[in-house]
Symmetry: C2
């Protein structure tokens, strides 16, 4: 399978962590997706993976000349949608950084292109494959806590030094879409339900001079199964903290409670409370996607979920912008 | 000082934990506040404290005959307001179970009675004096995390077997007021700000046959200092869990993060992350109240905060009932 890459602004490393296990995939060509973006990251990743892909300045030309089977879309956030559409129109499978669109109009256009295409698309929600979250998910799916009634999540990141594009809504998209996507995909995959309404708030006050970038946000949702879900999102994690991110989920069911924090799983069920060090996740996101394209297995992440996720974070952003409770279409 | 007690449906034990340290307080008389409520708890508490108080069937008669300096109000929840009003009208200081009223109309009436009275009133929000929460509060007040931007709280309880009055809104008041009061008072005391708006949701589905009682709730608030606050409230904690309650708070400031969970304090500041086993809290709620009445010191809990807290939980309940975002008066 022939692979091309556009950009490295986000999580393209999900591709590279899988390449050693995908001998059938050939990394043929790369572009930054934007003149002026550095080639250094992609060059370093490719060299470490023992590939010498061709370089393009023009991502559309790359798609037309190389005619890849798969493209990774990780260039400028505001170009995700048009790059996804161009690929889908050419029958090229898309592995796209989340969110795949920064506006609902762009999202509709991507979904329309996907409906007309034979190609598949998923977004880079790699935390589904994190060992602790994956193990918790398998426990929940096996009925360990009964029916889920309440979900609480935390996403907390360090601010660090951010490229200038984070400081503008038009090029960043907002913290609820960018950081919240991880929490929202947990809502969808753990509950196996739809989000039916959301209220939210966000603030860019005291954001270290990062323009429009929201530093803190809260989202609160009703799900189609009657459960409730909540996300606490911030970029207030101190620089001195031991890890970049503090990722947590707690699920309260009618027959138990499960919680992921600090890389371990805490389960309370009929046998009492215990802490479980999760086994390594046996799957990887990009490998899963390639193997689904090959008809070998099903990827945990689907196009349908990707569209639902993107719509949810954009509607939550709108709820925060307007102060309104928003019911989902 | 002469003390009378009405009822033991809630946290009257806050009185008894303080009595050994208050030799100036004489427990003169008690009533259950409702014919048919058991006298056993109060009798056992009083005996252990070496008091032999008189018993009354009629709480109003007790107030009129005994003319106490202080009354503890912990009878039927729906009678809190009228008992508070009767005491305040008689110039008797009130130590009342939270929430002090189950409706906004009743709350207004209590506040009006308080404004006309020389007596003081506070509610039994004893978790302010829990060792870990108190220590976290002293750290936050000393500037350990800078200005608070985001507050997340958890209140999770075991269901157990509940008296029938929990199953009716009219006699219980709802889970957001009953359980959420603890979380909401943290918002107020940690932020030193006012709540300006709330959105909320609650559900009584799968509540183990407990009538109207909500088993799960989420609340989300904006504060007057621009910070956001959130409460996850449930009665889904498994019977096998090691403790009755799972009480947590996390505060993200512009200069650090502090978290209370499992009885310890986790602080991340400029020096990195560390876990602090808190020293015992040097104060107790009821002792603090008595000492304020004696002019010796100031109680952490004030009448103003008690009214703000009660109004907040009742408005949050209304937000959950109606699905509306509610701006505070």
């Amino acid at each position: 399978m022939k692979l091309c890459l556009i950009g490295s602004r986000g999580h393209v490393w999900y591709v590279f962590e899988s390449l050693p296990f995908l001998p059938e995939v050939n990394l043929a060509a790369m572009t930054t997706g934007r003149q002026g973006d550095s080639r250094d990251n992609l060059n370093a990743f490719a060299a470490r993976a023992n590939f010498s892909p061709a370089w393009y300045d023009d991502w559309q030309k790359m798609l037309d000349v190389e005619k890849p089977d798969i493209v990774s879309v990780d260039g400028p956030f505001e170009d995700h949608a048009k790059m996804c559409i161009a690929a889908l129109e050419r029958g090229i499978h898309v592995f796209c950084e989340k969110p795949i669109a920064l506006t609902l109009e762009d999202l509709d256009a991507v979904e329309a292109a996907w409906r007309k295409s034979n190609a598949k698309i998923i977004s880079m929600v790699g935390l589904r494959y994190d060992a602790a979250f994956y193990h918790a998910w398998t426990l929940v799916r096996s009925g360990a806590i009964g029916a889920i009634r309440l979900i609480s999540t935390r996403k907390s990141y360090k601010l660090g030094t951010r490229p200038a594009f984070y400081g503008e809504r038009a090029t960043y998209g907002g913290t609820i879409p960018w950081v919240g996507s991880h929490a929202f995909v947990w809502f969808l995959c753990f509950s196996q339900a739809d989000i039916v309404s959301v209220s939210a708030m966000h603030s860019s006050a005291e954001n270290g001079g990062n323009g429009d970038m929201e530093i803190a946000a809260l989202c609160q949702m009703k799900l189609s199964n009657g459960a409730f879900a909540q996300a606490s999102i911030d970029i207030l994690r101190p620089a001195t903290a031991p890890t970049h991110g503090d990722d947590r989920i707690r699920l309260a069911g009618n027959n138990g409670v499960i919680e992921v924090a600090d890389g371990v799983v805490r389960l309370i069920d009929g046998s009492g409370e215990r802490t479980i060090t999760p086994p390594p996740c046996p799957r990887k996101l990009f490998s899963d996607f390639v193997q689904e394209l090959e008809g070998k297995s099903e990827c945990l992440v689907t196009a349908e979920e990707t569209f639902a996720l993107t719509r949810a974070v954009l509607l939550a952003r709108e709820a925060a912008d307007t102060g309104k409770n928003i019911s989902f279409p």
